[in-house]
Amino acid sequence: MAFTPSAIIFSVLTVAAYVVANFLYLRFRKTPLNPVITATVALVAILILFDIPYETYMEGGDWVAAFLGPAVVALAVPLYKHRELLQKNLVPIAAGIVAGVIAGLASGTLFTRWLGFTEELILTVLPKSLTTPVAMQVATTIGGIPSLAAVFVMVAGFTGILLGPYLLQLLNIDSPIGRGIGLGASAHGLGTAKAFEYGPEDASMSSVAMTLAAVLGALLSPLAAWLLL
């Protein structure tokens, strides 16, 4: 990581965009105002407006992104705090996570392959249901494009929030465990936010599912890439 004037300017700018975006979200509480999206749109607009190459921006961006790795490690703490819930429902939770992760990896790979996308793009779509920091690191590891992977993670998250409730109703998934595991395994943090609206048990299930799906997804993605490509 470089320690240049651009590094200082763009890391400060990123944090500022995030703070403002968060303020807007807390002020208006509208889902499309998701802070990641508004901050990203604002920063992209600045880069285009002032004709700044992404590489220059990343001299500062790298400093902010450096927290991703430790943050993934830190996910062990909330999972540990939910250990009793996990122990009590180990079999159904494990079954849901395994089914979800396999369905996600297989359908993502097969659809993209049928439509003839390049290997790089297939590997980018693969980790879409994993929480963003894990998805980006998995994309890097297996040969996808991390920034694009993050976009697909957002699309998956919004699918969970906007269409999830209809699908759950359609399939008669009406228990806290079914809803929580479904939302968390497919739509990660955004799905977990939605699960909060159903109740605290749904939310805990979803948070556990998000973490376990990320771990299993990280373990199985290279295997899926190898098997299905």
Partner: protein, 124 residues
């Protein structure tokens, strides 16, 4: 004092990350070092090798700004605009459908097995 505790615990999290990355490089594993670090910390907590109080404040602090850390990566779409004006736009419905299949499979499997085990318990 709380700030010092948080900073020290952030350094511990970074230490777990470095160990995870070292293991990943050493064994040439096809998974991110951060996931190995996560598994190490989770095991250390479960086995009571490392107490929760020595990591809780730092982890909670770090995770409360989680979405900040991936903004630099999402800004990277600035270089991929042309992709979505062509065939690449088809990737979006693929992600939507595949996400719904993931949710259906995960939700049905967990609910089905949870219901079956409660029925078993009531019968026995």
């Amino acid at each position: 004092m709380k700030i010092i505790r948080i900073v020290l615990q952030l350094l511990v999290l970074y230490g777990f990350l470095l160990i995870g990355e070292a293991i990943q490089a050493l064994l040439n594993l096809p998974m991110p070092g951060s996931i190995i670090g996560f598994l190490l910390l989770f095991s250390a907590l479960l086995l009571k090798i490392y107490p929760l109080e020595w990591i809780d404040a730092g982890a909670t602090f770090l995770l409360s700004f989680l979405s900040l850390y991936f903004i630099p990566a999402t800004v990277g779409v600035v270089d991929y605009g042309p992709l979505f004006s062509g065939k690449g736009v088809l990737l979006l419905p693929i992600v939507v459908i595949s996400t719904l299949m993931t949710m259906g499979a995960a939700g049905l499997a967990s609910q089905h097995i949870a219901n079956r085990s409660t029925v078993h318990k009531e019968e026995s």
